[in-house]
Symmetry: C2
Subunit: 172 residues, 2 copies
């Protein structure tokens, strides 16, 4: 799906100097291109009997919500602390400086349900690893971690050693 | 669509004392119910020649992304300051204490395009009014502001005097 790269805009030095940001808003703006991305995810996951998609706030919601409908899975939002109103479970993970935390509702899944973790971007993998941990703590079976874009040089797959990883588009 | 209320969970005193929070995560978790909500939005908007959906971060993304695909519209994310990487335009609006600001990419729409503003919740209407203002500043024609849930007693419609307002579910 490398032709999709022509719809991903490179923004140098965002959010800070030295970072090359991959901007997906041109994908979203064009219904045909957005449809193609969701179609690629559907082709990948339609046969995998996914019960629930763990969608990482907030760009992950954009891809996970249409995909959930395509494959008949439930959509489970993972959010920053303090956003989910019911009983939550949370996991923290390291950032370059400091740490971050994501939460999920404790009643999100039933034991043994098959879970797909989905986000727009696989960078260093910290968020995805935390999402996998949350799913397992709740008794879920993590089938795969899926991404629209993978920045392979950042080694995110190494943070997910025991989970299959798929990305629609990968950059070296 | 009042039967959908059985899939909306009331959480007292969230995010602070005295607020009754309407939790939509039970809707998302059940593919049939989520499908019904998106279907209601599709039935409303399929014939309105919407070019772009202005989707408010972050729960708005969850409904706007599937709807955009259903009606063949482009999806335009509106985000908190500092999140969008390209050139932005922003509008600030008052909160109970202090103010908030949302941004959109300046290249989000072409002049004269028909815009639907979409969010999960219409409460006091500040965010939606700011979204309408952003769309107009960029030369868009705002066709309607749509919501999954409306808290009618908070008077959000008064902040949107010159825009049609639609909600799937309304609470007094």
């Amino acid at each position: 799906m490398d032709h999709l790269k022509s719809h991903i805009r490179d923004i140098p030095d965002f959010p800070k100097k030295g970072i090359l940001f991959r901007d997906i808003t041109p994908i979203l703006k064009d219904p045909k291109v957005f449809d193609e991305v969701i179609g690629a995810l559907r082709d990948r996951y339609a046969g995998m009997k996914i019960d629930k998609i763990f969608a990482v706030e907030s760009r992950g919601f954009i891809f996970a919500a249409p995909l959930a409908r395509e494959i008949g899975a439930g959509l489970i939002p993972l959010r920053k602390p303090g956003k989910l109103p019911y009983e939550t479970m949370s996991v923290s993970y390291a950032l370059e400086y400091g740490e971050e935390r994501i939460e999920v509702h404790r009643d999100a899944i039933e034991k043994g349900e098959r879970v797909l973790v989905l986000d727009d971007l696989l960078a260093t993998g910290g968020t995805a690893a935390a999402a996998v941990e949350l799913a397992r703590k709740l008794g879920g079976e993590v089938v795969e971690a899926g991404f629209v874009i993978e920045l392979a040089s950042l080694g995110g797959r190494e943070k997910l050693p025991d989970v299959p990883v798929y990305s629609v588009v990968s950059y070296d």
